[in-house]
């Protein structure tokens, strides 16, 4: 894809979503995450520098920036998956609602803050057992209500119609796009307050990507969504708020309209218009 084509498309999407000022206005909400002076280290390497931001609840927040800018690292701190990597260190404050993120037991936190990864990672189990997995390990529901929860989650992930007749078939038999929606359904089944999406479409074709994007748009009534993407179009299509990362620093965090129509920083403008990245 040429830069010109990308830019043309981007402008179109931007106009459609944010051209009408009234329509683009999103009511303000309370912060889901409050981040103060956050630093993160891999050994001696500092990957994140002094982050300060508030991630709004029940909205879609997109984190953009070039590869290696720290956006995924930041995302993985929000459900503390970052702790599973040895020799890492975090300083600063993060709160979920009004509770200190680091005061939770990780398993409790991760039930409330779900995550979908770059590559679909369904378990080598049946479709049903994949969706039921989180509910089971958290002991959330009696077995008698499991069927209902599985169906509800698959419907929310827009996968039910495609799999309702083969719930006991291995999840590995699904296509990549279906697998990724299954992973979303699996996360939704434990009713998280937040869903973190780490470049969820990077391994998918354009059609599968479009389905996931539609889904993200619909899910924001259900939970807060934070999505990492290197695809500007994707951010423009789905985001209500956008954070721009560069070299481990948060350059700008704004409502999507402001960010895309009238970015405050020169670096953001340069990145958005494809001058680097």
């Amino acid at each position: 894809m040429s830069t010109a084509f990308k830019l043309g498309d981007f402008t179109k999407v931007r106009e459609e979503r944010f051209g009408d000022e009234q329509r683009a206005k999103e009511p303000a909400t309370f912060p889901q995450f409050t981040v103060k002076d956050l630093n993160f280290f891999y050994g001696d390497f500092q990957a994140l520098h002094n982050l300060d931001l508030e991630v709004p609840a029940e909205k879609v927040t997109a984190l953009i920036g070039p590869s290696g800018c720290g956006k995924s690292t930041f995302l993985r701190i929000l459900n503390r998956m970052s702790e599973t990597v040895p020799h890492t260190r975090v300083t600063g404050e993060v709160s979920l609602g009004d509770q200190d993120l680091f005061s939770f037991h990780p398993t409790v936190l991760r039930r409330r803050v779900g995550m979908v990864f770059q590559r679909p990672n369904p378990f080598p189990k049946s479709i049903f057992d994949n969706v039921a997995y989180g509910v089971r390990v958290n002991g959330m529901l009696p077995a008698s209500q499991m069927k209902e929860r599985v169906e509800q989650s698959l419907r929310r992930a827009a996968l039910w119609e495609e799999v309702k007749d083969k719930l006991h078939v291995s999840a590995l038999s699904l296509s990549g796009g279906q697998q990724q929606r299954l992973c979303i359904a699996r996360s939704l089944a434990v009713e998280p307050e937040v869903l973190l999406l780490d470049e969820p479409c990077s391994a998918l074709d354009p059609l599968a990507t479009a389905k996931i994007e539609d889904l993200v748009f619909e899910l924001k009534g259900l939970c807060t969504i934070v999505i990492v993407t290197h695809n500007m179009l994707q951010a423009a299509r789905v985001a209500d708020y956008v954070g721009f990362f560069l070299s481990g620093k948060l350059i700008e965090f704004e409502g999507a309209r402001k960010m895309f129509m009238n970015p405050g920083k020169k670096q953001t403008e340069d990145y958005l218009t494809g001058r680097f990245g």
């Binding site: 398993t107 039930r111 779900g114 990864f117 990672n121 997995y133």
Partner: protein, 285 residues
């Protein structure tokens, strides 16, 4: 000057020599196995009859009889060996694969490799001191324990390898849903690695089934049924050994038949194990 389209003759000769030498060595490996197999089939199969599987050894001088007690004895010892070697090897392997950051894990890994290198006769003497001396007599139990200890290092390392082969993405998937480490291991990692783990254990059992030295000091041998687990017991490898060095023609034939049965059993286990491994569901990358 034009560039030659073909390499000089010296390179071609070097290639040909390399191909021949490596090919001959590879062929030798196959030839040795085929030779052993062929010899056992020729000598063993013709000595094999129904009585071999059903009758006790005939008294010295009498023709006929069988090795039923040795077959049952070997089976009982392998059961004990599995009961000891599988849980210890499996759970130890889980520790190495899933909690391997610690200095303790690297010590365990190194020790395991050393243990695997301990000569099997030494293992027999170790179990003799540990089990036979306090019990004051040889027993099926002691033989099984010796074989079980021999199983541990390989069970441990093969379990570790197969668990490590499970993609990190599956661990992350389970943990991101709120599963604890133990839940992740029990409900995702081990099931995903299970075909491999089972294959490793079967190959391991097949290997110790043919061990002779550790049994000489532990189960010893006898000519009768060995009731329970606290009496000396015959086993196929030890009986083959005893019969093969005896002066009786009929015992030699029985030894051939024993060797043939043992090898067939080991081959069957190998084939089944490989079938299990090849049928395993493919994992996501």
């Amino acid at each position: 000057m034009t560039t030659a389209a073909y390499p000089p003759t010296s390179k071609k000769i070097a290639n040909a020599v390399m191909l021949s030498i490596t090919g001959i060595c590879a062929f030798l490996v196959v030839a040795v196995l085929l030779f052993i197999l062929g010899y056992l089939v020729v000598n063993g199969a013709k000595s094999l009859n129904w009585a071999f599987f059903t009758k006790l050894p005939a008294p010295v001088g009498e023709i006929g009889g069988g090795l039923a007690n040795a077959i049952v004895g070997s089976g009982k010892m392998l059961l004990i060996a599995a009961a000891l070697g599988v849980p210890v090897g499996l759970l130890g392997g889980v520790h190495l694969a899933e909690f391997s950051g610690s200095a303790f894990a690297s010590i365990v890994r190194y020790t395991t490799d050393l243990l695997n290198g301990v000569p099997s006769i030494v293992m027999g003497i170790f179990v003799y001191t540990l089990v036979v001396v306090p019990m004051h007599h040889f027993s099926t139990l002691a033989g099984g324990i010796a074989l079980g200890i021999m199983m541990i290092p390989i069970a441990l390392r093969s379990t570790e390898e197969f668990l490590r082969g499970v993609p990190q993405a599956l661990r992350e998937g389970a943990m991101s849903l709120g599963a604890s480490k133990t839940q992740t291991i029990l409900t995702v990692i081990i099931p995903a690695a299970l075909p491999g783990i089972i294959t490793g254990i079967m190959l391991n059992l097949a290997r110790v089934a043919g061990e002779t030295a550790p049994l000489l000091f532990t189960a010893f041998s006898n000519q009768y049924w060995s009731p329970g687990f606290d009496q000396p017991s015959a086993s196929l490898p030890v009986v083959i050994f005893n019969y093969a060095i005896s002066p009786y023609e009929d015992w030699h034939r029985q030894a051939w038949a024993g060797g043939f049965v043992l090898l067939t059993a080991v081959l069957l286990i190998n084939i089944v194990a490989r079938l299990i491994l090849s049928r395993r569901t493919s994992l996501p990358r």
